[in-house]
Amino acid sequence: MKVVIIGGGWSGCSAAITAKKAGAEVVLYEKTDMLLGLGNVGGIMRNNGRYTASEEMIALGAGDLINLTDENSRHKNIDFPGHKHAWLYDVNKIEPAVGKYLKDMDIEVKLITRVVDVEKEGNTIKGIYLSDGKYVVADVFIETTGSTGPMGNCLKYGNGCSMCILRCPAFGPRVSISYRAGIEDLKGEREEDVYGAFSGSCKLAKDSLAGDVIKQLDETGVVVLKVPQEDINLDKLKLKVCQQYALKEFAENMILLDTGHAKLMTSYYPLEKLRKIKGLENAKYIDPYAGGKGNSIRYLSVAPRANNMKVIGLDNLFCAGEKAGLFVGHTEAIITGALAGHNAIRNYLGMPLLILPRALAVGDIIAYANEKMNSKEGRTNRYTFAGAEYFKRMQELGLYTLDIDEIKGKVEKLNLTHIFNEKLI
C-alpha cells in the first residue's frame, strides 16, 4: 500500500512518519532541496499551550519530531513578552536531523521534485503528475503543500517576492493539489475582504549585530530593543499571520530570539529604519533576503476538510498543516500531519477514521479551527496553542497544563496511549 505525500514541511514529515509507522510504503515529494519549508526559519516550540500539545503528541505516540526539536534546542524554558517556557530549536541543525530520521525509517524522500497536477477517476485520485511530465500512482495522497506563496500571490496580496526560504523563482511555485482535483480553496483574511497574511517574522544574520546583542542572545536566548517613538507602527500588527505575536509590545519593541540566527519578531522592517535601532546598526537580513521590503503571503489555499483530515469531496486525499486550516506554527503542523498520515492508512483499509477527542488540546484545535473556517470572522483569525484566541480558549476550558503525568493520564483514560505507534498493515 503506497502513500504519496506532497510537500516536505513539518506537516508532511509528520504525516510521513505516522503513515510509515502504520505500515505503508511512503514517498514524500518536496519541491526544494531541503525538508521543513518554513520550519527552516522558525524555531519556537513549547511556548504557552504548545507545551501541552507537545506532551499530548508524545503520549499519543507521535512525539518523534517533538523529540527531535527538543534535542536540537538552543534554549529551553525561556520567556519573552506574552510567552512562557518557550524552547528554541537551532534552525541550522534541525533540517539534516529530520532528513536523517526519515531516511532511517526507510521513508523515500524525493527532493527538487514538484507535483503539478492530478489524474482523477470519479472522486478518487489515481496519480499525480510531476513538473517534468512523469506520472506517479498511489493508493492514498496527503497534501501538505502549505499556503505560502507562490510569487503571484505574494505580489497580489503582499509586497512582491521577498526571496524567502521557499525560493519559488529557483524551484518553481507551489501548486494546490486539491484545487487541481477540482476542490476550490478557501482563503484566510487579514481584514474584512483583504486576503492572505504576511509571515510574522524574519531572520537577521547574528554576526551582523552588535557584540553585546550577540552575547545576550547566546546567553539568554532573548533580546528586547526599543523601537524609536517615530517608527512605532501599530497598524502593522494586523498584517501578521502570527496573531500570538501581534501584541503592542511587539510594535514598541524589537524582539530578537536566538534560533541560530537572530529571529526578528516582525513580519518585515525597512532596513534603513532597522539600522536606527541601537545594536542593529549593521544588521543584515538572511530570511527573507529582501526582509526590508516584505515577507511571504500565506493562507490563500486552505482545503475544506473533516476533523479526520480528509479533504471533503475526494475519496483519498488528506491534508494537514496550513493547507488544513488557518493554523500557525510547527507544533500545529506536526499534529495535523500525524493525524493525516495515520488516517490515510485507515482509509485504505476501510477502517473508521481516527478523530482526536476534544478533551485533548490537539483534538479541540483541529475541530475548533474547522468550525471557525465557516464564519467570516473566523477566517480573519489564526489558530495556535501559543496565543491569541485559541490559547485563551485552552485556558478557559482547562486544556492548558504543564503537568506531564496529568496529560499521560488523560490520554490513557481516552484509551489512546501510543495509538500512532500502532501498525495497521
Binding site: 503539478v116 507562490p150 503571484g152 512582491g160 511555485p173 507551489r174 501548486v175 484545487y179 482563503k187 486576503y195
Partner: protein, 319 residues
C-alpha cells in the same frame, strides 16, 4: 513563458499561462517556466511588453523547386537568427509593399548562425504566397518574428536523448522536418525517415537526409484519407523492430492523426509530436483565427500555446 511575456493577452485577462492574468485571483501555476509572468507584468507597470517586430531581410537566394515551391535564403540579424534555431520556430513573411493581411506563417527550414541566414520553403497556394513569388534576389522580405509553436508536443522532441526516432514527412512538410531532425540528431538519437514526396516528384531536402538520417524509406503514405497498405507494412516493421521512442510527423492533419492512432495502438508509451497546421493571421493570440476548443472545454490559441497533438487532432467540439 517567453521574452514576449506578458503580451496583450495579460492586459485583457486572457493569458494562456498565468491564472492571475486569466481572471483568477490566486496562483494556479502549472506552466511555470522559471519566471513569474505576473511579476513581469507588475514590473512593467501593468502593461504588455512590445509585441513582435518586423524585420527587413535581404533575399540572398531564391530557388524554384519543381512547379510551385520556392526556397528563399534571407539574411537576418544575429539576434533574429539566434531566436529561430529551435525546432518549431516559424515566422510571418510578406512582400514589403503589401499590407498586414498578407502576413503568411512559414516554418523555418534551416538557420545558419555563422552567416546569419534563414532558409524557408514556400508552396505557392493562394494570393499571399503568389505575392511572395514576385520577390527576387537582392530584394527584401518583410519578416515578423520570432514565433515558436510550429510543433505540437514539442516537449517530446526536446527531452528525447540517446534513442531511436521515426520521422514521417510528406510534401511541403519536409521543410519543417529539418530543425526537428537536426535537434534529434544533436541529442544522439538515431533517426529513420519515412518520406512521401507527393505531390512532388522529388525531395528538396536530400542533403539534410544524407547528413542526419540513419535510413530513409520512400513510400506513398496516404490515399483518400487512409494510411496505404504499403505505409502500414513499413510502419509495422519499423516500429516493432526498432525500439522506437518517438514518432514525429510533418504532414497534413489527416496523416498526423492517422499516424498518431496507429502509434498509440502499437505502444502507448511511444512519444508523439507533429507539425502545427493551424491557420494563423497574427501569431499573437489576438485574431482568434487559430483557436480550437476541445472536449476538455479548454480553448487553445494554437499560434502560441504548446499542446499535445491529441488535444488538437481529436475531441474537437463542433457545437
Amino acid at each position: 513563458m517567453s521574452q514576449a511575456c506578458p503580451c496583450h493577452l495579460a492586459e485583457t485577462g486572457d493569458c494562456i499561462l498565468c491564472s492571475q492574468l486569466a481572471g483568477k485571483d490566486f496562483c494556479d501555476c502549472c506552466n511555470w517556466n522559471g519566471v513569474c509572468i505576473y511579476q513581469e507584468y507588475s514590473s512593467n507597470n501593468y502593461k504588455a511588453k512590445e509585441s513582435r517586430k518586423y524585420y527587413n531581410c535581404e533575399i540572398l537566394e531564391k530557388r524554384r523547386f519543381e512547379e510551385n515551391v520556392i526556397i528563399f535564403e534571407v539574411r537576418g540579424s544575429d539576434k533574429l537568427v539566434s531566436e529561430l534555431v529551435h525546432a518549431g520556430s516559424y515566422i510571418f513573411v510578406r512582400r514589403p509593399d503589401t499590407d498586414t493581411r498578407f502576413d503568411t506563417p512559414i516554418s523555418i527550414m534551416d538557420t545558419d548562425t555563422r552567416n546569419n541566414t534563414i532558409t524557408i520553403a514556400i508552396e505557392i497556394k493562394g494570393s499571399k504566397t503568389k505575392a511572395l513569388d514576385a520577390l527576387e534576389v537582392g530584394g527584401e522580405l518583410l519578416v515578423k518574428a520570432p514565433f515558436w509553436n510550429g510543433i505540437l508536443g514539442l516537449k517530446n522532441i526536446f527531452t528525447i536523448k540517446d534513442s531511436k526516432c521515426l520521422i514521417v514527412a510528406r510534401g511541403i512538410g519536409q521543410a519543417p522536418m529539418i530543425p526537428a531532425l537536426k535537434h534529434l540528431h544533436a541529442n544522439n538519437n538515431e533517426i529513420i525517415v519515412v518520406l512521401d514526396n507527393s505531390p512532388y516528384k522529388n525531395s528538396f531536402v536530400n542533403k539534410y537526409l544524407e547528413k542526419y538520417a540513419l535510413k530513409v524509406v520512400r513510400c506513398n503514405a496516404i490515399c483518400r484519407g487512409r494510411i496505404t497498405d504499403e505505409f502500414n507494412d513499413i510502419l509495422n516493421d519499423l516500429i516493432r523492430n526498432n525500439d522506437i521512442s518517438l514518432v514525429h510527423c510533418d504532414a497534413t492533419d489527416i496523416l498526423n492523426y492517422e499516424l498518431m492512432k496507429f502509434v498509440e495502438d502499437i505502444d502507448k508509451s511511444i512519444k508523439y509530436s507533429c507539425c502545427n497546421n493551424a491557420k494563423m493571421c497574427c501569431g499573437e493570440g489576438i485574431c482568434g483565427c487559430c483557436t480550437r476548443k476541445n472536449n476538455d472545454r479548454k480553448l487553445r490559441r494554437l499560434c502560441k500555446m504548446q499542446t499535445e497533438p491529441k488535444y488538437v487532432l481529436e475531441g474537437r467540439r463542433i457545437f
